[in-house]
Structures are given as structure tokens and as C-alpha cells.
């Protein structure tokens, strides 16, 4: 798989794990990043030559239309990879989120991914491509941010069903990162405290994710076990 220049869509490529992935892939592939930031703010962090589309996923229907238009505008008739990585969560006391927090979490993490998968299918199928959903180890349950954990479990179930349905056309996978040192925890209103020191840095996590994408396996957990085994050093390149 290495060698060919790929057309790759990444959501939430403007910080954290997504940005680390963008930096790894940009020199060798054609990238389109979809994000919530205004284009100027995105341009300030993205490498030269990376295309960007402003598509906040809190309004999934509109965002999916905008992303599809951007793919067309880029002149892409096929999509080798769609990496649905954008994610949000809210840390709350007592496991009780507001309606707004639940809706934003489900919209960005789950509903937008479902709708993007549906809308991008023809492009992915033409390329025999790969659909990657970025989940989380929190998908098994987490009292600090219940809707976030729920959304990631939803992605797991989506991948499990779709991987089977699309086995002859598109490889579908879910990748569950473990705790990673990005801005996400602060954005979620959560301070991991001293635990934060053992979180993995975004760079190696992105390297392991790239390896898992190249291998097209599912489900894959990308965390300390894989890291300690040298996963970030030996992982395949896309």
C-alpha cells in the first residue's frame, strides 16, 4: 500500500492526534481537513498544501453537505481514506450532563460519523478505500463523561456492523486510543492531574494509528501496551 499517493479526508485535523496525523501524512499524500475553525485559524496550524473546509460537526446535516461539496471541489472522484477523528466531551459531576452537552457530544462524535460514512460511501467504494473511526478506550463506560463514552461505544458498534456489510467494497475499522496528552481534556473541563504525566504524547499515538490504518484491521486499541512493545517505532506507513 505504501508508495501510492492517496486522497485522504481527516476530520478534526487542527489539533491533538488529528494534527499529528496530518503532519505525518501531508508530505506524501493529498489531504483535506474538515474542522470547526475559521479557515484563517486553521491555516495557521496546518502544513502547506493541505486543503481545509470549515464544517462544524455540531450541525451534522449541514456539515456533511459541506464536506461532500469540498471533496467535489477538490476534484476527487475517489477517496482512499476517510479518518473520522473529530471528537468532544464534557466532564461532569455525578454523571449528569446538560441536554446541550449530550447533543453536542453525540452530534460531533457519532451522528456526524454515521452521516459521513453514508455520504462518503460512493467515493470510498470507488477507491476500495478505508473508513477509519477514531473511538476511545472509554467506550467501555466512564462515569466522568457518560455521553462521550456512549458515543465511542456507538462508533464501535457502527464499525462492527459496517465492516461486515462492506467487506467487499470498503474496509471499515475502529481504532481506540488510550489516554493521550492533547488539549482535549482541558477542553472537556477535566484536569487529569498527576495521571496526565503517564498519558502518551500525540505523535507516537498518531504513528500507531497510521500503522493500524495501513493494516486495515479492526478493532484496534492504541495505548500503552502497543507503545511499550515498540508500536510507535515499527508501525507501517500508509
Amino acid at each position: 500500500m505504501a508508495g501510492g499517493r492517496r486522497a485522504i479526508l481527516i476530520t478534526g485535523g487542527t489539533s491533538g492526534i488529528g494534527l499529528a496525523l496530518v503532519r505525518r501524512l501531508a508530505p506524501r499524500h493529498d489531504l483535506l481537513v474538515a474542522g470547526r475553525r475559521a479557515p484563517d485559524d486553521a491555516a495557521a496550524v496546518l502544513p502547506q498544501g493541505v486543503r481545509y473546509v470549515h464544517a462544524p460537526l455540531t450541525t451534522p446535516e449541514e456539515a456533511v453537505r459541506t464536506v461532500a461539496e469540498a471533496v467535489l471541489k477538490a476534484g476527487w472522484v475517489r477517496l482512499d481514506n476517510a479518518i473520522l477523528n473529530a471528537g468532544v466531551g464534557f466532564a461532569v459531576p455525578g454523571g449528569i450532563e446538560t441536554a446541550g452537552q449530550i447533543r453536542a457530544t453525540l452530534d460531533v462524535n457519532l451522528t456526524a460519523s454515521v452521516m459521513l460514512a453514508r455520504t462518503l460511501h460512493p467515493w470510498l467504494a470507488r477507491a476500495g478505500g478505508t473508513l477509519t473511526l477514531v473511538g476511545s478506550v472509554a467506550r467501555r463506560g466512564q462515569g466522568l463523561f457518560p455521553a462521550y463514552a456512549a458515543s465511542k461505544a456507538g462508533l464501535h458498534g457502527l464499525a462492527r456492523a459496517l465492516r461486515s456489510e462492506w467487506r467487499d467494497t470498503v474496509a471499515v475499522q475502529v481504532i481506540h486510543p488510550g489516554p493521550t496528552r492533547t488539549g482535549m481534556h482541558a477542553k472537556a473541563g477535566h484536569d487529569p492531574g498527576r495521571l496526565g504525566a503517564v498519558f502518551l504524547p500525540a505523535g507516537p499515538v498518531a504513528a500507531m494509528i497510521e500503522g493500524a490504518i495501513a493494516a486495515r484491521r479492526s478493532p484496534v486499541t492504541v495505548s500503552h501496551g502497543r507503545f511499550v512493545a515498540g508500536g510507535a517505532l515499527w508501525s507501517r506507513r500508509l
Binding site: P60, E61, V64, G94, G95, I96, E97, T98, A99, I102, R103, L106, L110, T111, V114, M115, A117, R118, T119, H121, P122, R139, R140, G141, Q142, G143, F145, P146, A147, A149, A150, S151, K152, A153, G154, L155, H156, G157, L158, R160, A161, L162, S164, E165, W166
Partner: protein, 249 residues
């Protein structure tokens, strides 16, 4: 008299649960898009759970009517067929009704103190949580989300509210909903009767169980799905997806 709330109460499993709770002497409020009919032994509130404003208005009204000793968040819709043959909007509706609405309602009632201390909340997920469900990918995703929401709030709700949270994972039921979405040639006799499922679910919830899988057959499938997830999803593909002759949403 204790109060009970059941969503999706006009038909199927929700109807069976609402009737059973009413027979046990609870003052039952049923929520549904459709009217349950004049003979229903419970009160009815009409609500389209796919509509956010309606859900918010419903939450406000239920908070007034509460607190509830038993809350069964059961309402669900499906979309079956090849994923790409179903419109994106229909998939979004499945997410809204099956995952978002029950989570929003539960959190709103909890925040307002409308869940009685010592009471319980039951989320109705699906056996697909253990087996996978090719042919209903968005339904499976939403039911997985709901299952893990229940698991996530179980501890904090017990600690701070004194409320027990359970998730139920029924397999195929003999309901109109199931008949509409079943593959061609499926045998309705193999499905569990809704009143049997209702009895088992309520009994297990009363025992405070976190995970409720009604029936030996469903428990066996759940176990197999946990031990060999890929093989069981493959079997589901052959049993369901390969036999679907139409897309329904």
C-alpha cells in the same frame, strides 16, 4: 401510589411493560407518538422523540408530574437494509430517538430531582450490543451508545441519587416493529413474546441487575458474541443481512 414512566408505551415491549406496571399498582405515564387506545390502563403523553423541542417540552412536563420510582426508557425505531441504501437523515433519526432522547430525558429528570431515591431506571438496548448487527448498522450503533451510557451512569447515580440503573438487552421479540424489519422468511414463533420479556426485565431490574438479558436463548447468544465477536457478527450477517430483501426505515 408510586409513579412509573415508560417511553414507547403504545405498542410492543413498552406496552407490555406499561401494562404490567399498571397491574402491579403503579400510576403509569406512557409516552409515545401514537395513542395507546382508550382501553390502555395508563395515561398517555404524545411526543415525537426525534424532535428536540418536543423532547425538551416533554422533560419539563415530566419533571412537573414526577418524581418517578420506575423509569423505563424503551422507545426505539429502526432502519434496516444495506447501510448505503438508507438516507443519511433516516440514520440520524435513529440516533435521535434511540440514543439521544433517552439520554437527554434521563439526565434532565436526574438533574431536576425527578427520579425518586430508591427508584430505578431501565434503558432498553438490544441483544445486538453483544452480537453486532449487519443490516441495521445505525440501530446497532445507537443501542451500543445507550448500553454504555447506562453502564457509565450506574455508579454515579447510585452514589449521589440512590437510583439503580440497568440496561436490558432483549433479542428478537414478537412485535409489529420486529415483523416490519425482519428478513424474508423469518420465523415469528422463535421470537420471545413481549409480555414474557417485560416480566423478566422488570424482575431483574427489581433485583438491581446492571445487565439484563431476557431468556436463555438470548443469554447464550450474548455469551457467544462476547467470546467470538467476529464469528457471531459473521453469523448475524448470514442470518439477517444476506436475507434482507428490502430497506425499511
Amino acid at each position: 401510589m408510586t409513579r412509573a414512566l415508560v417511553t414507547g408505551a403504545s405498542a410492543g415491549l413498552g406496552r407490555a411493560i406499561a401494562e404490567r406496571l399498571a397491574a402491579e399498582g403503579h400510576d403509569v405515564t406512557g409516552v409515545d407518538r401514537d395513542h395507546p387506545g382508550a382501553e390502555a390502563p395508563f395515561a398517555h403523553i404524545a411526543c415525537d422523540l426525534a424532535d428536540r423541542d418536543s423532547v425538551d417540552a416533554l422533560a419539563a412536563r415530566l419533571i412537573e408530574d414526577g418524581p418517578f420510582d420506575q423509569t423505563v426508557l424503551n422507545a426505539g425505531i429502526s432502519a434496516t437494509g444495506p447501510f448505503e441504501a438508507i438516507p443519511a437523515k433516516a440514520h440520524a433519526r435513529v440516533m435521535a430517538v434511540n440514543a439521544e432522547a433517552p439520554m437527554v430525558l434521563c439526565a434532565a429528570l436526574a438533574r431536576a430531582g425527578a427520579l425518586s431515591r430508591g427508584g430505578r431506571v431501565v434503558f432498553v438496548s438490544s441483544l445486538s450490543h453483544f452480537t453486532g448487527y449487519p443490516g441495521a448498522a445505525s440501530y446497532a450503533a445507537a443501542k451500543d451508545a445507550l448500553a454504555v451510557y447506562a453502564r457509565s451512569i450506574r455508579k454515579p447515580f447510585a452514589r449521589t441519587l440512590g437510583v439503580t440503573v440497568s440496561a436490558a438487552f432483549p433479542g428478537p421479540l414478537r412485535t409489529d416493529h420486529a415483523a416490519r424489519h425482519a428478513p424474508a422468511g423469518a420465523d415469528a414463533e422463535k421470537r420471545m413474546a413481549p409480555d414474557v420479556a417485560a416480566r423478566l426485565i422488570l424482575a431483574e431490574a427489581a433485583r438491581g441487575r446492571a445487565v439484563i438479558v431476557p431468556g436463555a436463548r438470548a443469554r447464550w447468544m450474548a455469551l457467544a458474541g462476547r467470546i467470538a465477536p467476529a464469528a457471531v457478527t459473521g453469523a448475524m450477517r448470514r442470518i439477517v443481512y444476506d436475507k434482507l430483501d428490502r430497506a425499511v426505515w
